[in-house]
């Protein structure tokens, strides 16, 4: 009893010596939706960690900073967290451009980084020789690997042969588009259309007309949430017959599932709030308890997992020494809402978390997103239009 009390007092008093984790997120600007979702995930994880006794016997502290989705703002904020707030570890990171921008100071200070987002290939280049860079989110080529896997399945079982590609003309859509086309061809698909569009412009009329002429089995679009409804609307209006409309936006529009136009639209996600996975159900319950709502943004559980695994690694290491924590972190092997998490080398970096196998393919069926592939996770049979 006495010791317990003492521990409590110590816990309360010892803030000064507590482990501090800096979290750099886009809380404003273009990436703010993902950033805000991640922030909620971090706070949920923080609550749980501290309720369970904190890190190294003290409450864990988080320092949030807003990178404004802009490299010029991200660099000072990163440096502030590292040098002023003197955080022991850095977490967060959503946008690729800001992540690359902070790679300079990160190397300069040898900062330990447990990074959740930033999937673009140049990020991998920028952090290739960084010894303490743990990357959770799959690199974009893993996304594609997952997509290709799904499409190959469709080819075999649904006789899908032709693909039309619509991609936004920014970095998100255009990255590696040539390689994508090649890979589809190599896999035996006929790529009948490759069209750029300007995200947010909502003008898909000409693109869909063109697609109609090309008669594809699958329309694969790489864009943002803003493009989802306009594209779906246009397809319906021009009566474009597809086997599947498949998209990979980082997030989907709020309330899209309730719109009948979303029916049968398929997409890619690391996670779904409806996932039957036990960790996922636990997370959803905890999230709902804390915030009163359910989130569909996978950056919330990703951030949650990110902080939980980091805290666990520190506790296992028993110190904040970067090398030791990294060694423990590398041994991570836990089940998460996304499936099992372990770190292994990617093409260029040493510690890559989730990979192609973690992606889920879902379809909007009824008023919800339902996993349909891989088949072992499927809750309902997929609807294929042809």
């Amino acid at each position: 009893m006495k010791t317990l009390l003492m521990t409590g007092v110590l816990l309360a008093l010892s803030g000064a010596g507590a482990v501090k984790v800096g979290v750099l997120l886009p809380l404003s600007g273009a990436g703010s939706v993902s950033g805000q979702a991640a922030k909620n995930g971090y706070q949920l994880a923080l609550d749980e960690i501290n309720r369970a006794g904190g890190v190294l016997g003290k409450p864990l502290e988080l320092e949030f900073a807003d990178d404004g989705s802009a490299p010029a703002k991200a660099v000072p904020e990163f440096v502030k967290l590292v040098t002023v707030e003197k955080v022991d570890f850095m977490a967060g990171g959503v946008s690729s451009a800001t992540s690359i921008a902070v790679s300079g100071p990160a190397k300069q200070y040898g900062t330990f980084m447990a990074w959740i987002g930033a999937a673009a290939v140049p990020v991998e280049d920028a952090f290739a020789d960084h010894p303490y860079f743990f990357h959770y989110h799959p690199w974009s080529y893993y996304n594609f690997e997952a997509i290709l896997g799904y499409f190959k399945y469709l080819k075999t079982y649904k006789k899908a042969k032709t693909i039309a590609i619509a991609y936004e003309d920014g970095p998100f859509g255009s990255a590696g588009i040539d390689a994508t086309v090649d890979a589809f061809r190599k896999a035996g698909f006929n790529v009948v259309m490759t069209e750029k569009f300007k995200t947010g412009s909502g003008n898909f009329g000409p693109l869909v007309s063109k697609a109609k002429a090309a008669k594809p089995d699958i329309l694969y679009w790489v864009g943002y949430d803003t493009d989802a409804l306009p594209l779906a609307t246009e397809i319906k209006q021009q009566n474009l017959q597809l086997g599947l409309l498949y998209g990979t936006p980082p997030s989907w529009p709020v309330g899209f599932e309730k719109n009948s136009l979303s029916d049968n639209v398929a997409g890619l996600s690391l996670w779904l709030s409806t996932s039957p996975n036990k960790d996922s159900r636990t997370f959803v319950a905890a999230y709902k308890k804390k915030y009163g709502t359910v989130t569909d943004e996978y950056f919330a559980p990703l951030a949650y997992v990110n902080l939980k695994t980091l805290a666990a690694a520190i506790n296992r290491a028993g110190t904040t020494d970067k090398a030791k924590v990294a060694a423990e972190m590398a041994k991570t092997n836990v089940s998460t809402p996304f499936g099992q998490l372990t770190f292994s080398p990617s093409l260029k970096t040493k510690y890559q978390g989730f990979k192609a196998g973690n992606w889920l393919h879902f379809q909007y069926l009824g008023d919800a997103r339902v996993p349909v592939f891989p088949i072992k996770f499927a809750q309902k049979p997929m609807v294929y239009g042809k």
Partner: protein, 329 residues
Amino acid sequence: MSARQAEAGAPVRAAPRREITPGAALPLLGFLLLAALFPFLPLGSRAEFLLQIAFFTLVAGIMALSWDILARSGQVSLAHAAFYGLGAYGYALLLKAGLPWLLAMPVAALLAGGVSLILGAVTMRLSGMYFAIATLAFTEVVRTIIQNLPESVAGGATGLLVPALLGGNSRAQYALAWGLLAFTVLVSLAVRLTRLHFAFAAIRQGEETARVLGVSIVRFKLLAFFISSSLAALAGVLYAGKTFFINPLETFSLANSIAPLTTSIFGGLYTTLGPVLGATVLRVAEELLHNSVKDGYLVVYGLVLMLSILWLPRGLMGLRRNRKHGGDL
């Protein structure tokens, strides 16, 4: 000849009070000195962080001042994002081509200057809103071209990785930014103190009158374009070398054209100190707001801009008492 003069007897010459005295340069020198000493100030643990903020403030200062130099000739441009981007891309591509950075930097600036001459030549007769939209259109066209070039050439929409400036040493980077700002200030002063000032100001305040007085507007408008865009390109080089990564969407964004405009108006147009001071105050204000109002800081920022126009139409420079025309640097 006149009765007035006959009364006075001998010709009277008033002391040239309004001529620019070395004293007028004191605030500017003070600013530069303070900026030079900044890394050595005892700022404790915040030093590194503030140095980063200060670096980007210097870049913003270079952009604003370069914009102002063009504005002095009556050309209110929305093409500064293009020059900034051309500088950044020029630098990155020249490095890729194997040029040493010290050479790549000025060559990128001159290239941007050269491109700006084309723009300047075709927008020669436009003014006001038409000029602004034409320059905006130019920016969009340049951005799209770079974005649609094959990825192997300029990185396409994805962007380009850029080697770290000065090995990523933040103090050295700061020193370089300071040097480039000081250079920009010198150029601005040179424009202010030579015949260029008379040509630019005359064109701005009355293009037709200026022509009647023999000012060749073609030559001076183009010169303003060249100087301004080259300096803006230097700011772009600093940005590229600091953030290691450039892509068309961010480097050519409209915000990069609008920021120098608002900064200059806020600080005080057609002066050297005004835009630099404006950049500093706005950046500091943004940082303070960011930390105090967190979520709504940009709302307050917009409000500050609006109020400053309603209450302070001549910008910060208008705050100085007894401000008379002509004597400001």
